[in-house]
Amino acid sequence: MRTRFHLIHIVTGVLIAVFLSIHIVRLHLDDILDSNDPNSWESMIHRATDGMWAALYIALLAVALYHALYGLRGIILELTPSARAGRVTTWCLVAIGIAAFGWGTYVPIHLLSS
């Protein structure tokens, strides 16, 4: 089971490399690509209401949260706390991840429907 979590860590890492590259190239290479200003309100609303961009961002949020929090868990568990402290850490990070994913998907979707 542990190796399976590690395998998911690797797969999510590759997915982040793809998704976040799209995000960063669009948001930061606007001068080289000679595209319109990605930081303007209109540009942001366009991405938020476009199905593909919204799906990309929600997928990115999910895989990035898993990858980041699993990595953080590995670092915290290196401090070799007791098994009980390790379990508490794990479930705290799971709660943080679910809360952050709920917040990060609820706000854009709620605003789009209003």
Partner: protein, 147 residues
């Protein structure tokens, strides 16, 4: 047969941010950890800030963007991008090595030995070069006035 003792982790928790007298890969490991924690911190801040400013209207958004475009925060944003480039490509190196790619075929140990670290070294150097090139490309765009 005598059990060979494992080398002790002399650096302890200090080894999280300091590579000591170990070789290049240990420095990459330290950087991977530091950039990973930095990206996690940035990601949480980014999520909170963008959702809160997204809740406002157009004026709130544009005033927030003008704050983000001040020189100090632009340097910070560039560091985040550079950290991502490093973390992604070093992660690619770790994945390739974990699955045994780019290490060559197993060979008999004949002097001078070609140990795994020496076989991995070329891949590490190539990836550092790619990281440097990408970092310069993004530096150009940040210097050209992009966000």
């Amino acid at each position: 047969m005598r059990q060979r003792e494992h080398r002790q982790n002399y650096l302890g928790a200090r080894g999280w941010v300091w590579a000591g007298r170990y070789q290049m890969e240990r420095h990459l490991y330290v950087l991977h950890r530091v950039t990973g924690l930095g990206l996690l911190l940035f990601g949480i801040i980014h999520l909170i800030i963008t959702t809160f400013f997204r809740m406002g209207d157009k004026d709130t958004w544009e005033s927030a963007i003008s704050v983000v475009h001040n020189p100090v925060l632009k340097v910070g944003a560039y560091l985040v991008v550079a950290a991502f480039i490093f973390h992604a490509l070093n992660g690619l190196r770790l994945i390739l090595q974990e699955f045994g790619f780019a290490l060559g075929r197993p060979i008999p140990p004949i002097y001078p030995y070609k140990d795994a670290l020496r076989k991995k070294r070329r891949l590490a150097v190539i990836l550092i070069a790619v990281i440097a090139i990408l970092a310069v490309v993004f530096l150009y765009d940040f210097a050209a006035g992009g966000g």
